[in-house]
Every structure is written in structure tokens, then in C-alpha cells.
């Protein structure tokens, strides 16, 4: 326990955030909003890693480095995804997922 904040509070917070992200991922149609929901999901996982690191092994930094690498992967993913989105927008002038039904161009 970290000075009065139980571990389960962190876990419940990240669970709620994760499933809000899942809801957005399922409901949204615009590609950029789907990307934003993915960021929410990744962020909730980071909170879990950091909280477990603090409670289980406060003298080591495994969870912290895992979070740093998750943030780096999220940055790479966002940049490539936005390049793809801009490319799609150039071709069909729309970024609605339901209007994208062919891979061929």
C-alpha cells in the first residue's frame, strides 16, 4: 500500500478507463477518434504497471521502464497511424471507417 492509497483503487481506476476506451473504440466511426480511444487503453495499462511496480518492488524499476517503452511504442503507433489516415483522406476525402470497404486503390 502506498501511504494510504490501496492498490485496488489504482486497479479499479485503470479498469474503468480501459473499458471507456473499449466503448469508444466500438462506437466511434471517425478514424482519429478511434486512435484517441486506443491511447486511452494504452494509458490505463501504464497506470497498472506503475502501481504494481510501486507496491511490489519499489527498489527496482521494471514497471517504470515498461511504461516508458509503452509510451515510446504509442508515439510510434500514433505517427504511423496519422500518416495512414492522411493518405486515406487524400484518396477518398473522408476518414469514416464505414466508407472504407476496399483495400485496392
Amino acid at each position: 500500500m502506498f501511504e494510504g492509497v490501496p492498490l485496488s483503487w489504482f486497479l479499479i481506476l485503470s479498469t474503468i478507463m480501459f473499458f471507456i476506451g473499449v466503448y469508444g473504440f466500438l462506437v466511434r466511426k471517425n478514424l482519429i477518434t478511434i486512435l484517441m480511444s486506443t491511447e486511452l487503453i494504452l494509458n490505463s495499462v501504464c497506470i497498472n504497471f506503475v502501481a504494481f511496480n510501486k507496491i511490489l518492488y519499489p527498489e527496482h524499476m521494471e514497471g517504470m521502464f515498461f511504461t516508458v517503452f509503452i509510451i515510446a511504442v504509442a508515439a510510434a503507433e500514433a505517427s504511423v497511424a496519422i500518416a495512414i489516415i492522411i493518405n486515406i483522406y487524400r484518396r477518398i476525402v473522408n476518414i469514416d471507417v464505414e466508407k472504407m470497404n476496399e483495400m485496392k486503390y
Binding site: 466503448y23 466511426k29 486511452l40 506503475v50 510501486k54 524499476m61 509510451i71 505517427s79 492522411i86 476518414i95
Partner: protein, 169 residues
Amino acid sequence: MTSNQFMFLLFSAVIVIFSILTVTSRRILRAATFLLFVLASTAGLYFLLKYNFLAAIQLIVYAGGIVVLIIFSILLTSHIAEKLPSASLMKKWPAALVALVGAALAIVVILQYNFPGSVGSTELVDVTQVGNSLINYGKYGYALPFEVISILLLAAMIGAIVLAKKRKD
């Protein structure tokens, strides 16, 4: 209630409210701004846990980099005044059901498990220690993942440039 608990509840309230607004707002630029608030208060949680270096990375890379990138692409691909069409109820209800059932299941499991109440040290993580771990290849060293992530970032950068480049055909 200790001050740590109070700050945790404050940050988590901000996170939950603005996450919901992020996925339900119909103006896309506002959704991006709400995402910025969520990421900033996550950095606040990291400050609370005394991971100052990690919180700085979160603020610089997420709030400073990714959100700005998202806002740029919003401005490139849609009109600011435009409102997104509301999702149909046929789509909303199953998604809400999946999210609620999944969250309820996970929270029940979390509450049933008694997590050990050991008190961990809350000392500040030294930046020297972080730097030594990142270039160390022994036990608790992260030199290999660090190099791999740098190659991944380079590849993603080149890939993004090639993908977004204007074709001549």
C-alpha cells in the same frame, strides 16, 4: 482520509469524467482537448507515486507530442465547426453492454482478491539510477530494449514520411 488519498481521488475523478467526454463528445477537436486533460492528470498520478521522471516523459511525449500530432491531423482532415454524426442506438447499446459487463467483471475480481498490505518505500526515484539502468546490460539493465525502441522509432519515422509523402502518379 490522507492527503494522498484525496489527491488520488481528485485525479481519478478528472480522469474518469474526461475519458467519458473524450469518447462521447461530438466535436472532434474538443475530444482531443479532453484527451489532453486525461493524459495530464495521469502524469499527476505518476507525480503522486514519486516517479517524477516518468511523469515528465508522460507530459512531454503524450501531452506535448501525441496530442499535438492528433490535433494537427484533425485540422488537416475535418472542419472545426463540423459535428460528428451521433452513433446509432443499435451500435451504442451492444458497445455499452460489453464495456459495462467487462468493467463489472474485472472490478468484482479485483475486490475479491485481497492485495497484500505491505508498505513500500515512497522515496523519489533517482534520475542517476534511471540513467544507469538504461545503459546497463547486466541484471536490471535495459540496454537492449532501449536500443530496440530507438530502432522502432527510427523505422516509424521513416515509414510515416514515406506514407504521407505526395505521390507523383
